[in-house]
Assembly symmetry: C2
Homo-oligomer: 372 residues x 2
Amino acid sequence: MNFIIKQNILMEQLNNAIKGVSNKNLIPILNCIKFELTKDGLYLLSTDNEMAIRTFLPKEKIEEIISLGEVVVSGRYIYEIVKKLPNEVITIEEVAGSKLFITTTNTEFNLNCNNANDFPNLELETKENPIVITEADFKAMVNQTSFASSLQESRPILTGINFLIRNSSIECTATDSYRLSKRKIDLKSTEEENNLIIPNRTLVELTKLLVEDENEMEMHIFTNKVIFRFDNIEFLTRLISGTFPDTEKLIPESFELELKVSYRDIFGAIDRASLLSSGDDKNTLLFELKNDVIKISSNIPEIGMVEEKIKVVDKKGDDLTISFSSKFMTDALRAINSEFVVLKFNGDIKPIIIVDPNNTLLTELIVPIRTY
Amino acid sequence: MNFIIKQNILMEQLNNAIKGVSNKNLIPILNCIKFELTKDGLYLLSTDNEMAIRTFLPKEKIEEIISLGEVVVSGRYIYEIVKKLPNEVITIEEVAGSKLFITTTNTEFNLNCNNANDFPNLELETKENPIVITEADFKAMVNQTSFASSLQESRPILTGINFLIRNSSIECTATDSYRLSKRKIDLKSTEEENNLIIPNRTLVELTKLLVEDENEMEMHIFTNKVIFRFDNIEFLTRLISGTFPDTEKLIPESFELELKVSYRDIFGAIDRASLLSSGDDKNTLLFELKNDVIKISSNIPEIGMVEEKIKVVDKKGDDLTISFSSKFMTDALRAINSEFVVLKFNGDIKPIIIVDPNNTLLTELIVPIRTY
């Protein structure tokens, strides 16, 4: 392998490939990036066994291809080296004895290479009829659900986001069993019917690669993996095996109380009140509705107390007193971010449902906290 | 104490006062800010025993003063609360039972107060003829020396910056005994002669408060403290007692070799070469001068090696091979930041001196590393 390339062009490609490199360092080859220089252009491959990335640079963007070949080299080092090189042309050449020479006018790096055959086969297949969705829609779907997924490895299924694909739509659901976030997207007509759990961690990495909002991306679903294709990038993620809990029955059809409030009012009130909610994980707030005023209060005995008042815009049902986690409510509200928000209750021990009144595609649920 | 103030105005003052609040939490009162509302305006005081800050807001900037008084309240809580309040007027009122009420239209915080008499007396005296210096000059002096001071509490003197004041100039010196940075500033005529050691940590905090570059600041020197006055702020720092090492004899008058090089060339070369310098603290680089070319090289056997070439602009003396820490050289070059830089040597075991050829006020010294 021997080619000449502009520093900024290689850097752009490395910026994507580096995201697939493992940080954990247990299997040395997974800390590497594989360079595959073919007659069509340059492929960079990286994987941490749970996900894999292959980026492609067409030959037109390479200054000169002198000889083809494959090289496997430390991802972190090649990334940092190219980043610090001046913005001029770089020669990248494999020489005898598994060495990679990276040279510019005044600089010569010489990196040890791994055996290209030891690099895992990424199995980047394609299907004939992938699902097609815009990058912007996909990003929104992940951002609006991801936070509700669990970090506890003890229940692996809940560390993923459920993708339920049917009737030409995707419904994404994440839950840590104390709260839930569900986001639906309508698709162009597709025959696909599927029910998968994708690790939250790989989805978050994937969204970092999505920059062209209006571009369409393809989603190729296989038994134990999904492959996304967009902007000269292929992104593979393993699936979590198992059955995601059936969350549909958790969201009731009817409610005893429905409240419409200004988003800004309730977000500000909860954000401030959380300053004086006790330091445990839950950060409990007390929520009291009386006539058309909500009082949100909290205290830490040794520090002080806080009381916030919010005027209700619209109310259907009777007064209620309930407690919930300020963190869960803040996370749910952040995902909604609209002018108004509707809170729906069935008494003080049943889940609270939070929605944007003008958007039925997103549903947030949080379980109240019993304080007695 | 009872007054009404705009949120953004109080926030601006708290942004300064919070910097004096201790993070260490050992003596509860040092986590507090003292409010002193006088007929002239509002003072906020904070201290961590090593430094102290008093900020002043003249009464014209306060919406309404209803009653004067003093209150001591948790610094972190009052700061976070005011930060999250909407930008409207806030009423701040002390009520019976050592409570502070902070109220806006829809929000009511109620914080426990400490006894105002328990707050330390800050002893913010003034002298008749302080030293006067611009904020920009003072900031430059600290930024260009601070990095060379020691972090090791075992030699407390080296954790400070030496201020040597004589002949209408200040000479600041910091050293960790492996490198040294010395910066001189000429003053308007002053009688003051002094030799002090100010803790590096408090100087760094002080520079964060300096925002009006062209403003002049006053420096009032006492036996065991210095008080700085600028922009309605008084800043007190304790001194480190003891005698700073005499560093003047460390910088020779004559050199066997002097090299002038492009700043960009040498900074880039060392920055890149440091990527492959071994992971210990020193990050040793090999520097070889042959004719008019410097070769800088380094390697980590299991990763690879790097070789950088720099053309010398001007050379007085003979070829030399020497080793030094890439980190120390990078820090020294960062402080200089000019078009050219001059490196001066007396053989391969004596300190290297680095200067800007057009600025005699700043001198950097680093001790070479013996590699044999």
